[in-house]
């Protein structure tokens, strides 16, 4: 027991050292600019007030939550349905279509950047939430991952449900989804995090600062106009903290879920 405690402390210290860049960021976000440049720490909340107030990070935070949330739900819905079809049905062209879905994993997102930009421009969807969300909805990885997972679920369960007269969507919803919950949850987290951290697409697609996500807000703050302000590092660090923190807190809340979920599909 004592040994355990000791090891826990050692692990904690090792973990803190590993995370020290993040921890230092948080510390720095509370320093005044002057004290940062002079080296004598003076604590303040002014950076957060500036970030949330003058620099609109509250709005960016809500935008990030909204966009990532909708992308996650939509992405999961599409992926689960497709994964179910690929795992459970033998249909002409099925292998080809599955290959077409998996192949999207190999495709560099940037090849689609200019064309998607032009597509959304033609649809008049740039500078809208839809413009942020639509191109991110299809997720080949989630479909691939869930298909592997669903294949591991005994077919006998589906058969039993079909015997009882269930329709395919009911089988999916009542049999497959509950069993695949951990995998779906982990994919959901994966999609959410990916979308949360997405930066090149919103950078290109969004001009209206009311629609900025946190990544864009932060990148923009970091790359201040060269003809303008001195880099206010403590403010940048406050903005970084705001960008990191929701994921960090969410992570602490669902860590076990997340880890358990992620691992279930990756290793069979």
């Amino acid at each position: 027991m004592k040994r355990e405690t000791l090891w826990s402390c050692a692990a904690l210290v090792a973990g803190l050292i590993f995370l020290s860049p993040v921890l230092y960021t948080i510390w720095m976000s509370f320093l005044t600019v002057d004290s940062y440049y002079s080296g004598d720490p003076v604590l303040t909340l002014a950076n957060y007030r500036a970030a949330f107030g003058q620099y609109d990070f509250l709005r960016y935070l809500l935008n990030s939550l909204l966009v990532s949330g909708v992308v996650t739900l939509g992405g999961l819905a599409l992926a689960v349905m497709a994964a179910f079809a690929f795992a459970r049905f033998d249909f002409p062209g099925g292998n080809f279509l599955f290959a077409a879905v998996v192949a999207t994993l190999m495709i560099p997102g940037h090849i689609t950047l200019i064309p998607n930009y032009l597509t959304l421009a033609n649809l008049g969807l740039l500078d809208t939430y839809a413009g942020l969300i639509l191109p991110a909805i299809s997720n080949g990885f989630a479909a691939f991952f869930l298909r592997q997972y669903i294949r591991g679920i005994p077919r006998a369960l589906d058969e039993a449900a079909y015997m009882d007269g269930a329709r395919p969507l009911q089988v999916l919803w009542r049999v497959i989804v509950p069993i695949a919950r951990p995998a779906i949850l982990s994919m959901g987290l994966y999609i959410f995090i990916t979308e949360w951290n997405n930066y090149i697409w919103p950078l290109v697609a969004i001009n209206d600062s009311d629609l900025y996500t946190l990544q864009i807000g932060l990148a923009k703050l970091y790359r201040e106009n060269p003809g303008e302000d001195v880099i206010n590092w403590p403010l940048v660090m406050a903005a970084s903290t705001i960008t990191i923190l929701p994921i960090l807190l969410g992570f602490l809340a669902v860590e076990r879920h997340l880890v358990r979920g992620i691992t279930m599909g990756a290793v069979k």
């Binding site: 440049y37 930009y117 032009l118 959304l120 421009a121 740039l126 500078d127 290109v204 001009n207 600062s209 923009k220 790359r223 201040e224 106009n225 060269p226 003809g227 303008e228 302000d229 001195v230 880099i231």
Partner: protein
């Protein structure tokens, strides 16, 4: 199908324009000013709107000059370009050439502003004989000196800093005396200052009259060799400022660098940071006295509706007027572009006891405009990598510039 679409489009356009006749005209305006100068600009916008209640200026801070070029170019196929946009004085030629910007010659001819603008300021807006932008903020690089650092390095009296050699030896003295305290002699010159130093060496990147590419001219090579040697040979400039231009300026403002060559747009901020320790000198005159005129003007997009263009021009003219320009000059350190600016009380106030600004204004007598053919946009975007390779001693200066010059010539042939 197409006809239906056309009808729909035409009807909605009609609806839009007839609406506009009653409602206020909205002008979307992209600019590059944030922080302190952003606030000054917002003030000018607010004053204009108060005087013109039927016009609403939707001013948006887009980013720096590079960001504006990028965003504007990206906005064209999306048909979401603004109505008015700030464009840096060497980088609007591309947009003028491709018909993106409205020819403002007729507007300016009919505007008394035309005669109020200094010649140098009006000239920056002319491309191919026509006026495409009206100047808003004007600047020139100057040499900023931290006299406290110089004093610590046994240069109580700041020595003459007019030739490359004099600057180098002062930087070396600072570096030798204070280098171990983390203070460096000079900030690596940014692109604007580099261009200035090339001019001071009696050369240019592109000849402003003939348009000839001079990137590999002997005097250009010599200037780059000197600039690069500050970093990798003499070690008097930190490489931090090479990879990110702002770092050099930040270090100067933080009191860690003896000298910096940078835009007058940094004056107000440097004064705040260094107070009386700040000394402003003209750019060096190595082979000749010359400096580039920088800054930006405001252009109007050719896609905007006629009444929006009229409203936008009204604003542009107002922003360049003596009253606005005086506020702008006093609040930022950008130079006056209007002959009557200095007569405005705010400007008089700002000029008092600020010899730094006077230096910049006096330097205007040797300042010149720079060429702005379409290829300049490409050249400026590409120059950063070339400079890094030279300053970090990765590539031979002469060879790099020869290659860069031939690439630029090829690009010019392709795009002009």
């Amino acid at each position: 199908m197409f006809d239906t679409l056309k009808t729909v489009a035409a009807t909605s356009l009609l609806a839009l324009s007839s609406n506009a006749a009653f409602a206020e005209t909205k002008v979307e305006f992209w600019h590059s000013f944030s922080g302190n100068s952003g606030e000054v600009l917002d003030g000018i916008v607010a004053d204009f709107e108060a005087a013109n209640p039927d016009i609403n200026i939707d001013a948006q801070h887009i980013g720096n000059y590079n960001d504006i070029v990028t965003k504007l170019q990206a906005a064209i196929p999306a048909r979401r370009a603004p109505d008015a946009v700030i464009m840096e004085v060497t980088r609007y030629g591309l947009f003028a050439d491709r018909g993106v910007l409205t020819d403002l010659t007729d507007y300016l001819e009919a505007d008394p502003l035309k005669d109020e603008l200094f010649d140098f300021a009006r000239e920056v807006g002319v491309y191919d004989g026509k006026n495409f932008i009206v100047p808003f903020n004007s600047s020139t690089p100057v040499l900023y000196v931290n006299t406290a650092i110089f004093a610590d390095a046994d240069m109580e009296d700041v020595p003459a800093l007019t030739t490359f050699d004099e600057i180098l030896s002062a930087a070396q003295q600072v570096q030798a005396k204070l280098g171990d305290q983390g203070i460096s002699g000079i900030a690596a010159p940014g692109q604007f200052a580099r261009w200035g130093l090339i001019m001071a060496n009696e050369s240019d990147l592109i000849d402003s009259v003939s348009g000839e590419i001079l990137i590999d001219a002997p005097n250009t090579i010599e200037a780059y060799e000197w600039m690069a040697s500050l970093v990798h040979e003499h070690g008097v400039a930190s490489v931090d400022g090479v990879t990110k231009e702002n770092n050099g300026r930040d270090a100067f403002l933080a009191g860690k660098v003896g000298m910096m060559m940078n835009s007058t747009g940094n004056y107000r901020r440097s004064k705040t940071a260094l107070g009386d320790d700040l000394l402003v000198l003209p750019m060096p005159c190595n082979k000749t006295c010359a400096a580039p005129i920088g800054g930006a003007g405001i252009g109007i997009l050719s896609t905007s509706a006629p009444e929006v263009k009229d409203a936008a021009y009204k604003f542009i003219s107002y922003a360049a007027g003596a009253g606005s320009n005086a506020k702008w000059f006093a609040g930022t350190g950008y130079m006056p572009i209007n002959k009557h600016t200095k007569d405005q009380p705010v400007a008089e106030e700002a000029l008092k006891g600020e010899p730094g600004i006077t230096v910049a204004i006096e330097q205007l007598s040797v300042a010149r405009g720079r060429p702005r053919p379409p290829v300049v946009t490409w050249m400026r975007a590409s120059e950063y990598d070339m400079w890094q390779a030279m300053a970090l001693g990765q590539h031979d200066v002469a060879q790099t510039l020869k290659d860069f010059a031939s690439q630029t010539r090829a690009e010019e042939a392709r795009t002009n």
